[in-house]
């Protein structure tokens, strides 16, 4: 009922153009809350809520102000997102959180930057916790945009560091969704593997239309006949699940290096088919150390009835850095906070994370982890209550993921 109340306030404010009061920082959560991707939006909203509650409990913000979340539905559509952004502005939002869908993120980055240029007295900051398009911290970078997840190239750099030491893998197969994100994964995989493992054979490089393949078995047959020992894929959602299930059904014993398997519903639909075979590259998972396990349990105890488990480490980092920036700048105004965020560092549950000044990209350790069965012996925390969890197989230091940038702030 709480979220109903929040929604009500949001709309009410949108209609009567009320402005925020001084003792509150309004965080606009502009995310897809209806339609096919609504569940992901809900999950991240709960992460955000948990962190904001923690910040408010500690009460360290200057002038003992509190953070308040206003959710806005962007329907996972760039145009609708801009409408939602207008509504958020009317409601007095100073900080916008968004992450699912790079097309929405691009639209928002651009719209917020234009808004800030046209209304310098009332700037807004965009906290991007999951949109991975490298352009956002390169050619499309903006002063007002900060990214807290690693982008596609950084993740690929980390993943290829790991593949470089896996000498048992002699050939890999690239299969990706045919749109800019999948194409970016394929391109960076090709160039980085060539550099780090010149001996490695790329047995195939397929792009398939996104969300349209029902039966992956022809792809699997092709992969099988190529003799590859591992698959590198940026696929997400059913395109990933179907690929893995199909391979296992046909008895193709092969490693999967993925970006998004831990997303809600991923593990439970892949299930046993993925044990010991599916790897992911992320900035957070539950079984990195005792602290991350604690945080995972916190999430579970705050939301005992929900289906998913903690996933978004970057939401946590975004909120914590926002808090720290407000305390350090002794202000809650986006202009000051933005300056403080620019080169901020923070020790989080996985270690030191720091914001790059030159392109507003967070540098953080990344982890390659493997899907395993959890048991009392290994003491791992499972996800989605199916007896499976992730186990770290490699940690890639933050500096290793620093990429050259073309970003030039105006």
């Amino acid at each position: 009922m709480r979220s109903l109340y929040l929604l009500f306030i949001a709309v009410f404010c949108a209609l009567v153009s009320c402005s925020d009061t001084n003792d509150e920082v309004v965080i606009g959560y502009v995310e897809g809350l209806s339609g096919p991707f609504a569940n992901i939006g809900e999950v991240a909203l709960r992460h955000l809520e948990l962190e904001v509650e923690a910040v408010n409990r500690s009460g360290n913000l200057p002038g003992s102000v509190r953070m308040r979340i206003l959710p806005f539905d962007n329907k996972t559509n760039p145009q609708e997102a801009l409408l939602a952004f207008r509504a958020a502005l009317d409601a007095g939002v100073d900080y916008v959180f968004q992450g699912n869908s790079s097309s929405v993120a691009t639209a928002l980055t651009d719209a917020i930057a234009k808004h800030n240029r046209r209304n310098p007295s009332n700037p807004v900051i965009f906290m991007n916790y999951a949109a991975l398009d490298p352009a956002l911290t390169n050619e499309h970078c903006e002063q007002s945009h900060f990214r807290f997840d690693a982008d596609v190239n950084m993740k690929m750099a980390a993943l290829t560091e790991y593949i470089a030491v896996r000498e048992d893998i002699e050939s890999v197969y690239l299969i990706n969704q045919d749109y800019s994100y999948g194409q970016a994964v394929a391109t960076s995989a090709r160039s980085m593997l060539k550099q780090k493992r010149p001996d490695l054979r790329i047995a195939g490089d397929d792009l398939h239309p996104i969300g349209r393949i029902k039966d992956f078995s022809p792809y699997v047959a092709k992969i099988k006949s190529s003799g590859a020992q591992a698959i590198v894929t940026g696929n997400w959602g059913s395109d990933l699940t179907l690929l893995i299930k199909s391979a296992r059904q046909m008895g193709v014993d092969i490693d999967f290096f993925t970006f998004n398997v831990g997303m809600t519903g991923g593990v439970s639909t892949i299930g046993e088919a993925g044990i010991e075979r599916v790897y992911q590259i992320t900035n957070w998972h539950a079984n990195i150390n005792e602290q991350t396990k604690n945080n995972a349990n916190l999430y579970r105890s705050r939301y005992p009835d929900v289906f998913e488990d903690a996933y978004y480490g970057s939401v946590r980092r975004a909120v914590r850095m926002l808090e720290k920036a407000m305390i350090e700048s002794d202000s809650t105004s986006p202009a000051d906070v933005g300056r403080a965020l620019k080169n901020m560092s923070l020790t989080d549950d996985t270690g030191l994370v720091s914001m790059r000044e030159d392109n507003h990209q967070l540098l953080q350790p990344l982890f390659v982890s493997k899907l395993v069965r959890i048991s009392a012996e290994n003491g791992l925390i499972g996800v989605e209550d199916v007896g499976l969890g992730f186990e770290t197989v490699a940690e890639i230091y933050a500096e290793k993921t620093r990429m050259p940038t073309t970003c030039q702030f105006e």
Binding site: A10, V11, S34, L82, A107, D110, H140
Partner: protein, 405 residues
């Protein structure tokens, strides 16, 4: 010079212009202004769609293709202007979109308009699928996931108009919307417009009065593509970004819903639909996550009970109004409204409970369940009676109304 410039119509169009002028003063918030701009764009788009469905009888599931292509080409054109490659004021950019829409609908229309009905619907769906798929694949032109970003302030500042502030963009849209509405209305009053109606009603007979139905459909489709392109260009200017979603199947489906909910039988029906649907999508979605469900249910209800859409509901009451019989309908309408509202609240209660129950789990709301259930059953029971009563009065009235036809 009689028909268009007659007094009544002049007053009506003047009123519309005045309304366009006045609206931003009433709804001045940033969100309201953006929503009004969106409505203006959708009004053009829905009206252009109705040139196909309502006026020519072509059910298209791919009209957003022309909207989207117009929008993309405009985005590139604005970027060329910014780069100094050529100079066209932003105010006239919609023409670029329009010509793009026209070009593509000329090409695609040539091969698709030979048959109306289901084959046409299927071809349009197939073409829409192909265009949408290519839009994701060809990232050079369509910009990939990020789409094409533009800057509407790229042109020179003319008369203090930079198109920086939203209000200026709103008035640009308002002007184009008004002009497009006028043109599209005028087309219905031309020989082509009338023959399009004839082809819709009876394509075979049209042949025997000298017309080639395929040619008529083709021309109408091209004109519809032109106006869809204008709408697309305005969307580019308004949002300053255009992504592949704009020409996807969802966008095409959306305009079908708009036109049909508003009513395809009257020229102004789709305008109501565009305004209402935009309002529902933007406002209702802020209230509830189940807005898509309500939206779908509304659509089904309209098809089931008023296939002429909302505009038809209004039109059938005109004779009643003229006959001065509104008073006789009032009590039963009031009764139906009351019982309908009760039922609706019950249904909304159940739906919201389900959504929330599954999202946040274990909400113990037995009381709300019972109340909602009671409201549905009691409200529904009386609603049926109310509807029967309304029907009865209509039947009683019909001989009287025939005179006022």
């Amino acid at each position: 010079m009689s028909e268009i410039l007659n007094k009544g119509r002049l007053v009506l169009w003047g009123g519309v212009a005045f309304l366009f002028l006045l609206l931003p003063f009433v709804f001045s918030g940033g969100f309201s202004l953006s929503m009004l701009s969106q409505m203006g764009i959708m009004v053009i788009f829905a009206l252009s769609y109705n040139m196909l469905l309502g006026q020519t009888g072509l059910l298209s599931f791919g009209h957003a293709v022309y909207f989207g292509l117009g929008a993309f080409v405009t985005a590139h054109a604005i970027n060329f202007v910014e780069a100094g490659a050529f100079g066209l004021p932003i105010s006239f950019m919609p023409l670029v979109g329009g010509m793009t829409g026209l070009l593509f609908s000329l090409i695609l229309g040539f091969v698709t308009t030979r048959r109306p009905g289901t084959p046409f619907a299927m071809i349009s769906l197939g073409i829409a699928e192909m265009v949408a798929a290519s839009a994701l694949m060809f990232t050079t032109f369509f910009g990939g996931e990020g789409g094409i970003v533009t800057n509407r302030t790229a042109g020179e500042v003319i008369l203090g108009i930079s198109y920086g502030p939203q209000i200026q963009v709103y008035y640009l849209i308002a002007v184009w919307c008004f002009v497009s509405m006028g043109l599209m209305f005028a087309i219905t009053r031309t020989p082509l417009g009338r023959i399009a109606n004839a082809v819709r009603d009876n394509p075979e007979r049209a042949q025997f009065i000298g017309y080639n139905p395929t040619r008529v459909r083709w021309i109408m489709m091209s004109l519809a593509g032109f106006f869809a392109g204008i709408a697309g260009a305005l969307a580019t200017i308004n949002y300053e970004i255009i992504t592949a979603e704009a020409l996807g199947l969802m966008a095409s489906g959306n305009v079908v819903l708009m036109a049909f909910i508003g009513g395809i039988g009257q020229f102004w029906g789709p305008m109501i639909g565009a305004v209402l649907v935009t309002l529902l999508q933007s406002a209702l979605s802020n209230f509830t996550q189940a807005w898509l469900l309500y939206f779908g249910l509304l659509f089904l209800l309209i098809i089931l009970f008023s296939p002429g859409g909302i505009s038809n509901l209004i039109t059938i009451h005109l004779p009643v109004w003229r006959a001065g019989a509104v008073k006789r309908l009032m009590p039963s309408y009031g009764f139906a409204l009351l019982t309908g509202a009760i039922t609706l609240i019950g249904v909304v209660g159940v739906i919201e409970l389900l959504y929330r129950g599954f999202l946040f789990g274990g909400v113990h709301v037995a009381f709300t369940w019972i109340v909602s259930g009671l409201m549905i059953s009691i409200g529904g029971f009386f609603l049926r009676r109310a509807i029967r009563e309304v029907k009865q009065i209509w039947e009683d009235l019909s001989p009287e109304l025939a005179r006022w036809g």
